[in-house]
Amino acid sequence: MSTTRQRRGFAAVIIPAALALLVLGAVAVTGCGSDSSSGGGASPAASASSGPITVTDGSGQTVTLKQPATRIVSLAPANTEIAYAVGAGDKMVAGTSYDDYPAAAKSLPKIGDFANPNVEKIASFNPDLVLAAGGIQAGLRSKLEKLGMQVYVVDPKTYDGVMTEIANVGQLAGSTEQAQQVADTMQKAKDDVQAKVASLSRPATFLEIYSKPLMTAGGDTFIDDMITLAGGSNLGATAGSGFPTFSTEVLFKNDPDVYIADSGSMSEPGDISKRAGFADLTAVKDGHVYVIADNIIARPGPRLAEGLQELVKMIHPEASSAQ
């Protein structure tokens, strides 16, 4: 009897463990999926040059630094990108093994992978600011704070939320101006795109996060926000929040005008038009099937501006060619 119970170790141990890792992984790639309320609230704090800096992070908590951070540890690739973009790259002391952008981030010391950030390792760098992500990493916060570290949680739910987070990280790192420039660039990309699509119809757009099983971006994600900004109507918003599974039959029933598959670390969509039955989809027949790199759409960092511009080319090719 006991042997059979042991054998169940495979299903009973692997699958829950794997599920836990999966949740972590989803956060790793997208930085999304937390249960916290909203994107970071902008709180214009005292000038970065003198006095304490106070901002509200993505989980709604207040983070106060006595002076700008000089030793930053990032626990997510998006956070690393933000830190480098605001000009705090030279203050970065460690990142995650997922970090791949910018190139300089690859050679940073690692605190482990995103799913298993090693608390001892984080502490060993003696950071004065830890940039964590939402979701499961929120539980990490109290541990790190007990060890005397300041933790800022980057957890945006919208494109604007990402800009706010970038501005906040810029303040904490003492590079308010450069952060503002990054946010301005993102704002400009948004304004340009909005101007292009303002008068256009909203094609039904399906964004595939993963193919087996079919998964999409739900209504409360910044990906949904970006599809809307780019002048599309996100079919995935009908399936709930986060990154829900989506029935293939419902996909066919709704027959989207545009089909965009996310590609990169977590998904290889392959040849979408060759999938069974897909040849009959309007998006396939009209040639509106696209693949987008997940780094520029699913990572809440400065490169979302690129992602937004790519999305508008896919959802409204006519608007882009008119330029």
């Binding site: 009897m1 042997t3 059979t4 119970r5 042991q6 054998r7 170790g9 495979f10 299903a11 141990v13 692997i14 699958i15 463990a17 794997a18 599920l19 890792l21 999966l22 992984g25 989803a26 790793a28 093994s97 997922y98 992978d113 995103f114 799913a115 298993n116 993963y210 193919s211 087996k212 099983p213 079919l214 009908t238 399936a239 709930g240 829900p244 599974t245 989506f246 029935s247 293939t248 039959e249 419902v250 996909l251 066919f252 029933k253 027959d255 670390s265 977590m266 998904s267 290889e268 392959g270 040849d271 999938r275 069974a276 039955g277 040849a279 009959d280 989809l281």
Partner: protein
């Protein structure tokens, strides 16, 4: 009812067949886009048509998925019967021989090598499953005979080893973690005719055990008794073990790891038709197919457009049924 079914298997088989046909039709008719039976009939008779979306939903998405679920359910149920009765252990299920863990390892290697969009996944899972079976087999072979006890232990051990390697791969190749996790959870989502073709290969292996029904009945009384009664015990065990291994490997290779059906369907059927294999095998096959078909129907409809993992549904559907039958069986 039990006694009646034991004396003559046909009423039970016919009833199970009727239930299966009903489940098949319901599974084909219902979905996010529901069809009447007349429409199902029309689609079946017209065949696949290019450029017609409802037709594509039926022929390219729903039909292969329903067939695959039924095939996998049948495969796991038959493998469950064989293994429970060979091991004389009621807690045995098709995953006990290590075949499923080996198949999972093969599939994981496929995912890590980024072969996931090709039939390679199924091929690697099959190779993994068969390789595991081979290793377990060699471990259990003593002077020309298979020691069932050693086989069980070796299977469990190999299972652990394979799952440890899967875990290592998952952590090393953490970029592919999602794919591995979803594969391990088991699902029929996104499966098409290619997977059905692979699952169909198992059909002869589902039928083969029927020819050993008498031997399996006698083996229930122990190997020694079976030898006395003139059963070629070693040959029978070899054939049945390989058959169960092939069934499990094929099922796992197209659907991932779906629990409960292989463990509980044989028990449910034993309670209904008794332990005689002439009825037990075909009825289990049909009940396994029906249960998996209905479970997948629920998995794709209950919270549409989202899907519930089918393994969760098989448990939710099967567990109450099983408990009810256990209690009823005890009273009777």
């Amino acid at each position: 009812m039990t006694r009646l079914a034991r004396t003559s298997g046909w009423p039970g088989i016919a009833l199970a067949g009727g239930i299966f046909v009903a489940c098949l039709l319901v599974s084909l008719a219902f979905g996010p886009v529901s069809l009447s039976l007349g429409e199902v009939w029309r689609f079946v008779t017209t065949g696949p048509v290019q450029g017609d979306l409802p037709n594509a939903i039926f022929w390219q998405i729903r039909l292969p998925r329903v067939l695959l679920a039924c095939l996998v359910g049948a495969e796991l149920a038959v493998a469950g019967v064989i293994l429970q009765d060979l091991f004389l252990n009621p807690l045995t299920d098709p995953y006990v021989t290590g075949v499923s863990s080996g198949a999972a390892l093969g599939a994981t290697i496929g995912i890590v090598l980024h072969l996931s969009n090709l039939p390679w996944m199924a091929v690697l899972a099959l190779i993994g499953g068969f390789a595991t079976l081979g290793v377990v087999w060699m471990a259990a072979r003593r002077r020309g005979r298979i020691d069932i006890f050693v086989l069980l232990l070796a299977g469990v051990t190999i299972s652990y080893l394979a799952s440890a390697v899967v875990t290592v791969l998952m952590i090393r190749a953490n970029q592919d973690m999602h794919a591995i996790v979803y594969w391990l959870m088991g699902s029929f989502s996104g499966r098409g005719w290619q997977e059905v073709e692979i699952a169909l290969v198992a059909v002869p292996f589902m039928i083969a055990p029927l020819f050993f029904a008498r031997e399996m009945d006698i083996l229930l009384q122990g190997e020694k008794r079976a030898l006395e009664l003139g059963v070629e015990v070693e040959r029978t065990k070899r054939i049945l073990l390989v058959t169960a291994g092939v069934l499990t490997a094929i099922a796992v290779s197209v659907s991932g790891i779906i629990g409960f059906v292989g463990l509980v369907v044989p028990h449910i059927v034993r309670l209904l038709v008794g332990p005689g294999h002439r009825s037990l095998l075909p009825v289990s096959l049909l009940v396994g197919a029906s249960l998996m078909g209905v479970a997948d129907l629920l998995s794709r409809t209950v919270i549409a457009p989202n899907e519930i993992p089918v393994g969760v549904v098989t448990t939710f559907v099967g567990a109450p049924l099983f408990v009810y039958l256990l209690r009823r069986g005890r009273k009777g």
